[in-house]
């Protein structure tokens, strides 16, 4: 297996407007293999978003090495190696649903017909085929987030970076979205997902590996392999192994001073 993300001794220090330094991340090392589904979990402020944004080259590390698909993060961004899903769907309100999904394809200069066809295919994948011509405000929060996932997948990146994509959704919708995401990931065997979440059960349910982080300064406290059988479904949550794994994650979080964690 080849590692698609390779992180060595990565640190990030923010300097606030008042000159006070915040050590958001310190000496983080992490290798993610192609095809993995890795969740980052940890208390608020432990640097999960910071780590994800550095992988995406939306911010630059202070120290350390980081390669994405064997390239610098910047090169990987320029080569459009990843799709990013934000916590709020970040749809453009002046575009219809299908035009939102076409946006990356427009920027990447795909032909008009190909764009349409691909966007349509992606909307079917997230089961929003009937909503092509709606504007974002006409959709519910969960539907909007599905559109943003379709948009991230539209140009077929090998890497999907998701920052608390379902954080704003209610429990029922969130579980449905989890299943959809697993279905999509299973359909694309080479796709790697890095998924930030606050929810222990969500992390365990989805992942092949959970990375538990601790705050002040942000570090990796523990990595837990999730060897639950696949395909996963509602029965998975009833397995003893599932309980066992969630309590392991919970303990790891407590040891790293777990505050502000829900399930």
């Amino acid at each position: 297996m080849t590692s698609i993300i390779s992180i060595k001794n990565l640190s990030k220090t923010f300097r606030g407007a008042d000159g006070v330094e915040v050590h958001a991340l310190e000496n983080v090392s992490l290798d993610i293999q192609e095809g993995e589904f890795v969740s980052l979990i940890g208390p608020s402020g432990c640097g999960k978003s910071t780590l994800l944004r550095m992988i995406a080259d939306l911010i630059q590390p202070t120290n350390g090495q980081l390669t994405v698909n064997g390239k610098t993060a910047q090169q990987a961004r320029k080569d459009r190696e990843y799709g990013f899903v934000f916590q709020n769907a970040t749809l453009y309100e002046w575009r219809t649903v299908i035009k939102n999904v076409e946006l990356p394809l427009e920027i990447m200069k795909h032909g008009k017909e190909e764009r349409r066809a691909r966007a349509r295919e992606m909307l079917k994948l997230v089961e929003l085929g009937d909503f092509e011509e709606k504007y974002p405000w006409q959709l519910s929060g969960g539907m909007q987030q599905r559109v943003s996932i379709a948009r991230a997948l539209a140009f077929q990146p090998r890497l999907l970076l998701m920052d608390e994509p379902f954080g704003a959704l209610d429990e029922m919708t969130r579980e449905r979205m989890n299943n959809e995401l697993l279905r999509i990931w299973t359909a694309m065997p080479e796709m790697t997902v890095v998924f930030v979440t606050h929810s222990i059960s969500e992390a365990v349910y989805l992942s092949s590996r959970v990375v538990v982080m601790s705050p002040r300064p942000g570090r990796i406290a523990e990595m837990i392999d999730i060897d639950l059988p696949r395909p996963r479904g509602s029965a998975t949550r009833d397995l003893d192994q599932f309980f066992h794994l969630t309590s392991r994650v919970r303990h790891a979080l407590r040891q790293g001073v777990g505050l502000g964690i829900d399930e």
Binding site: A56, R77, G83, F84, F86, Y92, W94, W137, Q138
Partner: protein, 303 residues
């Protein structure tokens, strides 16, 4: 039958919210306000007349001669003036005003487009260059502190020397219109939700794509706010610009003439002012109409 159609209605509404109801309400309330103002106008005149234009409250006497017929004509007289000849053996006033209004409107429209284009280009430059913004924006703001009345004669002289006198009025109008366009467009281009911009960065989008696919559509509501302000300002600018221009046509010239002969016929000046106001409202309404067509997503979401 009736029950069935009632059940379908709410769904149809959810898909496309009714746009007309808010428009109707605006129309209705503005008619009400106009009616109230008319009542106030005539009421004050009647009241003042009944107390012989002097109201005594305790020791002090308030002079109400402002409301007599030579200072503030009856609304009926003002409306009546439209159909009377504008001068001896001349065409009726409304025809004469309409001709002048069209002339002024044409200058205002040219000024609107010149000012709009300049304002738009400045905003795009400022949005992309901190240096230009810091260096030039203060002058853009300062330009509006110089009274238009002081600028207008200079423009007339310059344009006269350049042999383009017919452009002096549009340029004076443009001087008033570029400013709101610059300020509002700049704000619309730069006040972008951070993640909306990061999305573009994640696609490694170039500045042109970011401008066309994010900044401009994001700015459209603000651009239209500016254009509506500019539409009315361009009419004001054109009327003021006509005063020192030496031109013989236009609402500004008509205002000048009728104020000279005010004592002979006050309603004619008021009628001309009314015409100028209507012209501004008309231009404003046209832009508001275009806005509804262009900013679709907002128009529907708002109602």
């Amino acid at each position: 039958m009736a029950a069935a159609s009632e059940r379908i209605e709410p769904n149809a509404r959810a898909e496309r919210p009714p746009r007309d109801s808010s428009g109707m309400r605006t129309l209705l309330s503005s008619i009400l306000i106009i009616a109230a103002l008319c009542l106030l106008w005539e009421g004050l005149k009647n009241f003042s007349k009944s107390v012989d234009y002097a109201l005594t409250v305790g020791e002090t006497t308030i002079d109400l001669s402002l409301f007599n017929d030579t200072q503030l004509p009856h609304l009926g007289d003002i409306l009546g003036a439209f159909s009377e000849p504008s001068q001896r053996n001349g065409p009726p006033l409304y025809a004469m005003l309409l001709e002048n209004a069209l002339y002024t409107l044409w200058a205002a429209v040219r000024g609107f487009f010149i000012g709009g284009a300049i304002g738009f280009i400045l905003a795009i430059l400022f949005a992309h260059s901190r240096l230009l913004q810091r260096g030039l924006l203060p002058y853009v703001v300062a330009s509006q502190t110089v009274p238009i009345l002081a600028i207008a004669p200079m423009v007339v002289i310059w344009m006269g020397r350049a042999g383009a006198l017919e452009w002096s009025v549009p340029i004076i109008a443009a001087y008033l219109t570029f400013f709101p366009v610059t300020i509002y467009t700049l704000r619309g281009l730069t006040s972008i939700p951070p993640t909306a911009l990061e999305l573009m960065q994640s696609y490694a989008a170039g500045w042109w794509d970011i401008l066309v696919k994010l900044r401009l559509p994001n700015a459209l509501p603000q651009i239209f706010t500016a254009l509506k302000i500019s539409a009315t300002a361009s009419v004001v600018g054109a009327i003021i610009g006509e005063l020192p221009s030496g031109i013989q046509t236009g609402l500004g010239i008509a205002i000048l003439n009728f104020s000279r002969y005010y004592n002979q016929s006050p309603p004619r000046l008021f009628a001309t002012i009314l015409m100028a106001g209507l012209l501004g409202i008309l231009f404003f309404a046209v832009i508001a109409g275009v806005e509804r067509l262009v900013v679709r997503w907002r128009a529907e979401a708002a109602s």
